[in-house]
């Protein structure tokens, strides 16, 4: 009897999980469906059966050229993530293994910068970029993306590092390991799942970032967010083309997320149950 109840619960839980997953995924699914409609079909209201035309894709490619924007997105997402990890690993190490009096406050302060609306600092940042010649440059935007995601990266790594027993590092020190060796040969291998999931999450965040990537670029450094933005039209139907552009823009990151979902989930729930 107890077994029957458990099966029933399991079925309900599975069904609930599917419904929630479908609800969360539905906007993306509908974007993909809309991209295979004509402009007239797209604006006619809710319809899950597209005519299957590829017209929007060919127009989108002919109009703006996808590949240049795609390469910029890859460069910015990967580059900013590597930069962020280079800064965040030592920072998180020091906060986790040799905390000071102000460590908690510093962590909170770092996180609080994420609460500030980005537009509040648009002008100062724009002026700095203008004066340093970084407007519309990949390097400038890479640094910007690294900076805005840094608090999250430091926090995540700090949480993972805290799970690693300090005694192991002490043992390494007893064996004569230098600080550098301790981080590279002892800490990093143990924190690989955490670092990997932080890296994946940061790539996703950088890929999707649409405020700075649109406002600090024009032609050379513009990534896929700018590509999508170019298909909204003040006068003329554009839903199908916009959906095709969005599908092309999210496809790479969706595929990456699909293949790395185990690592992502593992990393995100790391330390949740002790």
């Amino acid at each position: 009897m107890a077994r029957a109840v458990s099966t029933q619960h399991k079925t309900i839980a599975t069904a609930a999980a599917w419904i929630v997953a479908l609800l969360v995924f539905f906007p993306i699914l509908y974007t993909v469906i809309t991209s295979f409609k004509s402009e007239q079909e797209a604006i006619q209201g809710f319809n899950l059966l597209p005519s299957g035309t590829m017209e929007s894709y060919s127009q989108v490619e002919a109009q703006n050229g996808y590949f240049k924007f795609f390469l910029n997105s890859v460069f910015l997402a990967v580059g900013s993530t590597i930069l962020a990890l280079l800064v965040a690993i030592p920072a998180a190490w020091s906060m986790a293994f040799s905390p000071g009096k102000w460590t908690k406050d510093i962590l909170m302060w770092m996180l609080s910068t994420k609460m500030m609306p980005a537009v509040a600092v648009l002008f100062p940042i724009y002026l700095i970029f203008r004066d340093t010649g970084l407007l519309d440059s990949r390097i400038g935007l890479m640094i910007m993306l690294m900076l805005i995601n840094l608090p999250i990266v430091v926090w995540m790594l700090y949480t993972y590092f805290r799970e690693i027993p300090g005694e192991i590092l002490e043992a390494a020190r007893m064996d004569g390991a230098s600080l550098w060796k301790e981080i590279v040969y002892v800490l990093t291998p143990m924190a690989v799942p955490g670092i990997a999931s932080t890296m994946l999450l940061n790539i996703i965040l950088a890929w999707n970032e649409a405020f700075w990537t649109i406002r600090l670029t024009t032609t050379e450094a513009a990534p896929l967010t700018a590509f999508i933005s170019s298909f909204s039209s003040p006068q003329g139907l554009f839903w199908a083309k916009l959906s095709a552009a969005s599908t092309l823009a999210i496809a790479p990151i969706l595929i990456m997320g699909w293949f790395s979902q185990k690592q992502l989930v593992r990393g995100l729930t790391f330390g949740a149950v002790k």
Binding site: E39, Q40, I43, Q44, Q63, N64, L122, F123, Y126, L127, R130, L135, D136, I214, R215, T218, T219, A222, A226, S229, S230, F231, S232, S233, P234, Q235, G236, L237, F238
Partner: protein
């Protein structure tokens, strides 16, 4: 072998020298049919100007507005040519953010630009932006439904006639709404329509002392008429409909009348996308017998920011893109019906264009009927027909638009919406120093 190497070397050097010499200009623009077409036709420009390369940045309208404002205010120099509207030109020109267009070439023929449009893009007689396409608004109606209703649309209808026709044409059982009008909130959406409409009711945003006028009977008459008309004859969910939504409804045969931008005429009469292409008639925007019609004036225009280092090349491009020769180029490649409308008088005098665009005369008459310097019946301290050319208007216009959209949706009463609009406008104008 040596000769071959030498030749190759010289060739490379000359290519490099050419590349170094070629100047690249960046053009910021919005995504609409005419602009996309221009991007396809730029080979003509680069063939005539081999030393200038063109780079395009296409952005969503509001993002574009924000991006170019940031760049121009900080003199960032990211753009050499920017697409802006009649709202921005007078404000930016007064702040010396735009270069005067005084080197458009001898054969440019500035006087050919339609006077109402040129006036909206000039400050103290100097042209600061060249119109790429211009528009007013007018009535598009279904000739078959009008006939069925036993009515004849006059060339210059009144609002009472529009109401009478809408009442008769509405057949909700068959999915026909008598009239489709903008309801989506935004200074460039419902407020463009409602401000233009209010002019024909004798309303104004501000009196000569910048005091908001939403507490006056003219505004009450405007908004009450609009809400009643739409409740009785408008489509479901009209408070979410902007230009594109109404365009789709009209093309699908779901609207008896649609009062909107003249540029829509080329969409609704296009048999590829419109099911009612051969049944559309056109009339001037309605009036109330007060001497002003409810039509607006807008032009997407090309301007050159003061921060550019490439002013001469930029002027060459602006001159090419807004010239008579460009109209002929479009006509030769894609037909006269696809020539950007509403900028040059010569286009409307062209018999081939008149033949290809049955709405040509009505478009020109509508544009000529708008006067940005005297938009409404009573005197006003501002310029602009469907907007008020002050920096505060974007925010205020959208706030008021949200209130009026809520009144249309039935979330608030007309009186409440007007009272809140009056309060919001008073606060904004006091804060801005207009009211002491």
């Amino acid at each position: 072998m040596k000769l071959c190497t030498l030749t190759l070397g010289l060739l490379s050097a000359s290519i490099l020298a050419f590349a170094a010499h070629a100047e690249s200009i960046t053009i910021a623009t919005v995504n609409n049919g005419d602009m996309v077409r221009m991007q396809k036709l730029t080979d003509d420009f680069t063939a005539k100007n081999p030393d200038i390369q063109l780079q395009w940045v296409t952005l969503e309208e509001n993002v574009l507005r924000e991006r170019v404002t940031t760049d121009i205010a900080t003199k960032g120099g990211q753009y050499d040519v920017m697409t802006i509207g009649t709202y921005e030109v007078p404000i930016w020109a007064k702040q010396s953010w735009l270069l005067p267009l005084d080197k458009l070439g001898d054969d440019y023929d500035v006087k050919d630009i339609i006077p109402a449009i040129a006036g909206g893009l000039s400050v103290d007689g100097t042209l600061y932006a060249a119109p790429f396409y211009g528009e007013s608004s007018f009535v598009m109606y279904r000739k078959d439904l009008m006939e069925k209703a036993g009515l004849t649309m006059p060339d210059a209808p009144t609002w009472d006639f529009i109401k009478q026709a809408a009442d008769k044409m509405t057949d909700r059982a068959n999915g026909v709404n008598g009239v489709c009008l903008r309801g989506k909130a935004g200074w460039g959406e419902n407020m463009a329509f409602l401000t233009a409409m209010s002019n024909s009711f004798g309303a104004r945003w501000f009196d000569e002392n910048w005091k908001p006028q939403f507490d006056q009977p003219e505004w009450k008459n405007t908004l009450q008429f609009y809400v009643d008309l739409m409740k009785a004859n408008g489509p479901e969910g009209a408070s979410s409909n902007g230009f594109n939504e109404n365009l789709a409804l009209f093309q699908q045969g779901k609207c008896g009348m649609w009062i909107d931008a003249t540029v829509a005429a080329s969409f609704v009469s296009d048999p590829k996308n419109s099911t009612v292409a051969d049944k559309v008639g056109y009339a001037l925007a309605p009036d109330n017998g007060l001497g002003k019609r409810g039509n607006w004036l807008w032009a997407w225009s090309l301007a050159i920011p003061a921060g550019t280092q490439k002013a001469d090349s930029a002027q060459k491009f602006v001159s090419w893109a807004t010239s008579k020769a460009y109209a002929e180029l479009v006509a030769s490649k894609e037909g006269w019906a696809n020539v950007p409308p509403g900028t040059r008088s010569s286009l409307y005098a062209n018999p081939e264009y008149q033949k290809a665009a049955p709405f040509a005369k009505m478009t020109l008459d509508s544009i000529n009927a708008a006067d940005p310097t005297h938009p409404t019946v009573k005197p006003v301290p501002y310029v602009g027909v469907q907007f008020v050319a002050i920096p505060e208007f974007q925010g205020l216009g959208t706030t008021v638009g949200q209130l009026f959209s809520a009144a249309l949706a039935g979330q608030t009463s007309v009186d409440d919406a007007l009272k809140q609009a009056q309060d919001a406008a008073t606060a904004t104008m006091t804060e801005g120093g207009y009211i002491q």
